[in-house]
Structures are given as structure tokens and as C-alpha cells.
């Protein structure tokens, strides 16, 4: 996965609530292989009219916002379907950070496994991050220090699980990490299935 240490970039705000993963990427694009990239499908139906023209008023279509890499979103961002494509689409477009009051659980997990830093922040801090009139907001997100720094040098601390932080800093795949525990897994498995033999019920033909 992509490693993450410190990121500086322009923030775009999309303050709607309950932006579900169907909005982040519609289901009809999910069959595309990972290597095809999903940047053009990100927020597709919010971003484009049915005949494929950019929708006026959608923040991503504002030329001054097109280079944004940090997304500030509303409550319950990424709720709904478990599709990891939502994370891939954000990353492929260039986003590295999403900040919201809270997230859909599965989306939250998916993000951190791919190196997209998702940050839960209280509504008040989010308000102050969003409202700095005039210039597009440039933010620095410092993972080692666990803080977001705005252009006036104000710091907004955030929480992150220590293990997830370390995995992000190293960019290490979880599968490799887990393999180090394989002996323990096997031991557990034998004991568990002996105690609950129905778990192993052989497949009927």
C-alpha cells in the first residue's frame, strides 16, 4: 500500500451528509480491473451530466479546485456499499486525505488499508478548516505529529490508532504482517474446530 507521512495540499470541501459509496463511484463501473484506474469515475453522477458534461456547481469541476488532494466531507461520508473502488477512485484522482465528522465503518477501514488517510474531526474544527475566505485552503497533514495545520499555522490535532499509524508510515501490507503469526493461527484453528466440529462440516457435493 501507499505509505503516508506528511502531505501538503489544497483542500476541497463537500459538506453534504451521507455521501454513500454509490455516489463516490456508481456500481456500473465496478467491473473495471484495478489497473484501469478510476479517476474519471470518481463522483461520476454528481460530477457529470447524463451526456458526460461537467456539472456546473459541483466543487470538483471548479478549475481552481481541480488540483485538490484533501477532501473535507460531511457526516457519515462513505456509508453504504463496501466497495473498495470508492477508495481507489479517490486515490486515483489524487486525494490522499479525507476529513469528516465520521465515516461509514467499512469505508474507513478500506481507506487506511490503501494509504488514504481518513481523519475524524469534530464539527467545529471542520467548520474552521472549511471557512477561510478567499484563497483555496492549503493544509498540511502531518501523520507523525497527528495534526492538521492550516495556512494561518493553526494546528488541529487528530486521533489515529497506533498500529494503523505505523502501517501507514511504513506502507506495509497487512497480509505480510499477519503471516508472521501463522503458527499461532494454526494452533488456534485446530483447537477451535475441535471444540466446534460443525464449523468444519465438509461441503456437500
Amino acid at each position: 500500500m501507499l505509505a503516508f507521512t506528511t502531505h501538503r495540499g489544497q483542500a476541497l470541501s463537500l459538506p453534504w451528509e451521507n455521501i454513500d459509496t454509490d455516489q463516490i463511484i456508481p456500481a456500473r463501473y465496478l467491473h473495471r480491473p484495478r489497473e484501469a484506474g478510476y479517476e474519471d469515475q470518481l463522483f461520476h453522477d454528481l460530477r457529470f451530466t447524463p451526456d458526460g458534461k461537467p456539472k456546473v456547481g459541483f466543487p470538483l469541476n471548479d478549475p481552481t479546485q481541480a488540483e485538490s488532494t484533501i477532501l473535507i466531507a460531511g457526516r457519515n461520508f462513505g456509508c453504504g456499499s463496501s466497495r473498495e473502488h470508492a477508495v481507489w477512485a479517490l486515490l486515483d484522482y489524487g486525494f490522499r486525505v479525507v476529513i469528516a465528522p465520521d465515516f461509514g465503518d467499512i469505508f474507513f477501514n478500506n481507506s487506511l488499508k490503501n494509504g488514504l488517510l481518513v481523519i475524524r474531526l469534530d464539527e467545529q474544527s471542520i467548520q474552521s478548516l472549511m471557512h477561510e475566505e478567499g484563497q483555496p485552503q492549503i493544509l498540511t497533514v502531518d501523520l507523525p505529529q497527528q495534526s492538521i495545520i492550516n495556512s494561518s499555522d493553526l494546528r488541529f490535532p487528530f486521533e489515529i490508532d497506533a498500529y494503523r499509524k505505523e502501517a501507514l508510515l511504513k506502507g506495509e501490507s497487512e497480509i505480510q504482517m499477519t503471516y508472521r503469526l501463522l503458527d499461532k493461527i494454526k494452533q488456534f484453528e485446530t483447537h477451535h474446530i475441535n471444540a466446534n466440529p460443525w464449523v468444519a462440516t465438509p461441503p456437500a457435493s
Binding site: E17, Q23, H31, N76, C79, E174, Y179, W198
Partner: protein
């Protein structure tokens, strides 16, 4: 102190624990479907094979065809074939097109006995919460996690909190598990369950059939919850007895003995408790683009005055997207399509309810009925339900996800309003520009024969 149902299952699956509450859990059942191709690619790119193919089962559902469609996109068939190929390559039992055991993974899984009380079951699909109805701990995971489970048969998870929702009292006539869960979501909000596993309990839950329990747990994710679960009881054991992948004979009896202990102890602590009175619930429909926009069918579209200023922009967008008149009566909304199906409401009980209403008239708009599995289809046909649907002008299809997610080509045209028994009314969910109203099978059938949203209790012939 006592332990909750959740605690008991969680704790019996912890292989290793970190000091932050994250645990490595053993996975008893891993279900994969035809929209998980990328996870298999990820597994291969890590140079790994499926570690426990015997505990992994495949099901073709998202992309499968539900009727002969000359315009069908070959890409959709390719996804079904890719699942079969991945399964063959990895030695996984998989149920594909033309298999009698095929169905929507959350309908066919329980029905085959793949879901068992006390087990930990995951699937790369958010509605995996469905399986918790049998007293399993079941939740949806993303593609990276699917790859992790394929490779290791384990999963790292942060321990969730527990919420108990008690539903006391009896549900009214034509008030179903769907109305119940929509009301719960309206009450706690579309993210009210975030970070929690919900345990449903109380008199109304005890009285629910297994199928209704599946409907209820199915939509736990729409309240943002990690999972939903119900303690197994005699209803559960009777349901499981004789299912092909459930233990048989003496082993079944032993299992039931163990499963009887799977309930929250009297002195167990839940992090949050919610109580709802079943008698207060009416047939319910949604009006907006989040399941939390659920209202009793007797209600009205919220008016401008009901909306907080900060939510005005989104409200306006929803009204426009859904083509609504603020303040209008819900029953005044004309529908263009009806969809009866999805992992929420495509089981036999649902089809029986829909058929009872279909008998009372004829479809005024195109209506499709998509059974949740081959078994459901066969059983429904044995009972003659398909004939009732035919006579009412409802189209009877082959099992699959179909118009719930419109990934297989079955979609609602742009701007069309659909009365749907599925679980998500997100913008574009049933096809670009589609307008979805969620409701129970009886309510959807009622909308089909009247052409507008209808209080099924008011229909001639339904009064008792």
C-alpha cells in the same frame, strides 16, 4: 459481569490481541461473490493462495442475468465466469449460473446452512449483517480484507461497541420487519449505529420468523452498524435442521446444545440501549436518498419549514433529484416501476405477502419479481405464486441482485420513480437518475396495482 451475545462470539474467535483493542479473529465462513474479482487479483499479486478453500464459498449474484436479455453486456457474464474460474483455481465450492443452490449470497447462504449460530462469517458485501439473524457474528468487509481472509482465514478488527435495540409489543397488521428496520433507522439515524454491533431483542423480535429476522438484520448496515444479531432460539434451530451444510444427526443435537448458551447474560452490559414500541410502527416508506428519510405512509414529504438551515442545500437537491413537491402526501406519489426482490425482501415469506396483494388487482406499471435464490424460486412455483404474479401482470424472473444495484443491466430508467423492496435509495442506485422509495413487499405490490404509493391497510380486500 455477564457477557453479551456479541462478547461470547467475539471472544471465542480471538487469536491474538493488541493493546488497542484490535484483535486478529478466526473466520469460520468466508463467502465470496461475483463482484469480488479484484480481491482475487490482490491475493495473486501477493503471491498467495486461498488458505482454507473448505471454509470459503462462492456465489454468483451481482452480475447474474435474471432473464433473457438480448442487449445484455458481455462484461456482466464475464464477471460470473471469472468467479467460477477463480473458484476452480483455488478449490473453492461455488454456486454459479444454472446451479440449484445459487442465489443472492445473503439469501442462499442461510438457506444452505452455511450460516451457523456462534460462527464468525464475513463477505465482501456490506449486507453481510443479514447472517447475524441466526446468531452469528457477520459483517461486510472491503476487497483488501477479502484478500486478507482468503490468504490467512483471519481478519484484524477493532472491537466494536454493542447496542441493544429492544422492540416490545406486537407489530400491527401489514407491519413487517421492513417497516420495523426503516423505523429503527429513522430513529437512530443513518450513522446512529456506527461503531456498534446491534443486538435486536424483545417480544416483537422473539415472535419474528427466521425470514423476517434476516430482513431486519440485513439493513443494520443502513443504520451504519457493523452488524446486527439476534440470539438463536427454537425458531433458529428449527430453521437450520436438515439444511445441507448444517451439521446433521447427532452432531446437530450437540451443536444445538452449545448454541443454547448463545445469548446475552441477564447482567450483561450493552454500551447503548434503545427501546421502540412495536405498536407505534406503521407501514413505512422512504422519500429521500438516505434510508433515514423513512416515514409512515400516512405522512407527508417534509416541508421547507421542517428543515434546519445547515441542511437546506442538501434537502433542495434531494427534492429536485427525487422530483418531489414539499409537503405533498406520500400516497400522492405516482410510481413508474416496481421491484420486488433483493437480499432484504426476496424470500418465500416476502413473495407470499406480495402475492396476497397481487391477487387483488393488476399491475399498472412494469413490475418485476426477482426471487432471492433458486430454492425460493422453486418453492414459490410449487405454491403457484408465479401464476398469481403472471395473472397480475408482474414479471417473474430468475434469482439475483438485479434491480437492487443495477449491476447486471436490470435498471430503472432515469427520472422514473420505483417502489422497491431493496435496501438503498441512494441517488442512482437503481440506475442513473433513478428515484427509489423503499418499502415492504406488500406495500410494493400495493403500489404496483394502484400506480401510486399506497397504504396497504387501506386497500380493498386487505382489511381483516
Amino acid at each position: 459481569m455477564g457477557r453479551t451475545l456479541f462478547d461470547k462470539i467475539w471472544e471465542s474467535h480471538v487469536i491474538s490481541e493488541r493493546d488497542n483493542g484490535t484483535a486478529l479473529l478466526f473466520i469460520d465462513r468466508h463467502l465470496v461473490h461475483d463482484a469480488t474479482a479484484q480481491a482475487f487479483d490482490q491475493l495473486k499479486s501477493e503471491g498467495q493462495k486461498v488458505r482454507r478453500p473448505d471454509l470459503t464459498f462462492g456465489m454468483a449474484d451481482h452480475y447474474i442475468a435474471t432473464h433473457d436479455d438480448p442487449d445484455r453486456d458481455p462484461v456482466h457474464d464475464a464477471m460470473v465466469t471469472t468467479l467460477a474460474e477463480n473458484a476452480r483455481e483455488q478449490g473453492i465450492t461455488s454456486f454459479g449460473a444454472n446451479d440449484e443452490r445459487q442465489g443472492i449470497v445473503h439469501v442462499a447462504g442461510p438457506e444452505l446452512g452455511l450460516t451457523l449460530p456462534g460462527t464468525l462469517l464475513v463477505c465482501g458485501d456490506s449486507h453481510t449483517s443479514t447472517h447475524g439473524a441466526l446468531g452469528a457474528l457477520a459483517f461486510g468487509i472491503g476487497a483488501s480484507e477479502v484478500a486478507h481472509v482468503l490468504a490467512t482465514q483471519t481478519l484484524w478488527q477493532q472491537r466494536p461497541k454493542t447496542m441493544r435495540i429492544r422492540i416490545d409489543g406486537e407489530l400491527g397488521v401489514h407491519v413487517t420487519a421492513k417497516d420495523l428496520i426503516l423505523t429503527i433507522i429513522r430513529t437512530i439515524g443513518a450513522n446512529g449505529g456506527a461503531g456498534y454491533v446491534i443486538e435486536y431483542a424483545g417480544e416483537a423480535i422473539d415472535n419474528l420468523s427466521m425470514e423476517s429476522r434476516l430482513t431486519l438484520c440485513n439493513m443494520s448496515i443502513e443504520a451504519g452498524a457493523r452488524g446486527g444479531m439476534i440470539a438463536p432460539d427454537e425458531t433458529t434451530f428449527a430453521y437450520l435442521k436438515g439444511k445441507p451444510f448444517a451439521p446433521q444427526g447427532e452432531l446437530f443435537e450437540r451443536a444445538v446444545e452449545a448454541w443454547r448458551g448463545l445469548k446475552s447474560d441477564d447482567d450483561a452490559h450493552h454500551d447503548k440501549e434503545v427501546a421502540i414500541d412495536a405498536r407505534s410502527i406503521a407501514p413505512t416508506v422512504t422519500w429521500g436518498n438516505s434510508p433515514e428519510t423513512a416515514l409512515p405512509i400516512t405522512g407527508h414529504i417534509p416541508d421547507l419549514g421542517d428543515i434546519e438551515t445547515s441542511k437546506m442545500e442538501q434537502y433542495q437537491a434531494t427534492i429536485e433529484y427525487m422530483g418531489l413537491e414539499p409537503g405533498a402526501k406520500l400516497t400522492s406519489l405516482k410510481v413508474d416501476r416496481v421491484f420486488i426482490g433483493s437480499c432484504t425482501n426476496s424470500r418465500l415469506e416476502d413473495l407470499r405477502e406480495a402475492a396476497k396483494i397481487a391477487k387483488l388487482g393488476r399491475a399498472k406499471v412494469p413490475t418485476i419479481v426477482v426471487p432471492g435464490s433458486q430454492q425460493v424460486r422453486q418453492q414459490a412455483e410449487k405454491e403457484g405464486l408465479h401464476e398469481i404474479f403472471h395473472q397480475a401482470g408482474f414479471e417473474w424472473r430468475e434469482p439475483g441482485c438485479s434491480m437492487c444495484v443495477a449491476m447486471n443491466g436490470d435498471s430503472v430508467p432515469s427520472g422514473a420513480r420505483c417502489a422497491s423492496t431493496s435496501n438503498r435509495n441512494f441517488a442512482g442506485r437503481q440506475g442513473p437518475g433513478s428515484r427509489t422509495h423503499l418499502m415492504s413487499p406488500a406495500m410494493a405490490a400495493a403500489a404496483a396495482i394502484t400506480g401510486h404509493l399506497t397504504d396497504v391497510r387501506e386497500l380493498e380486500g386487505t382489511k381483516c
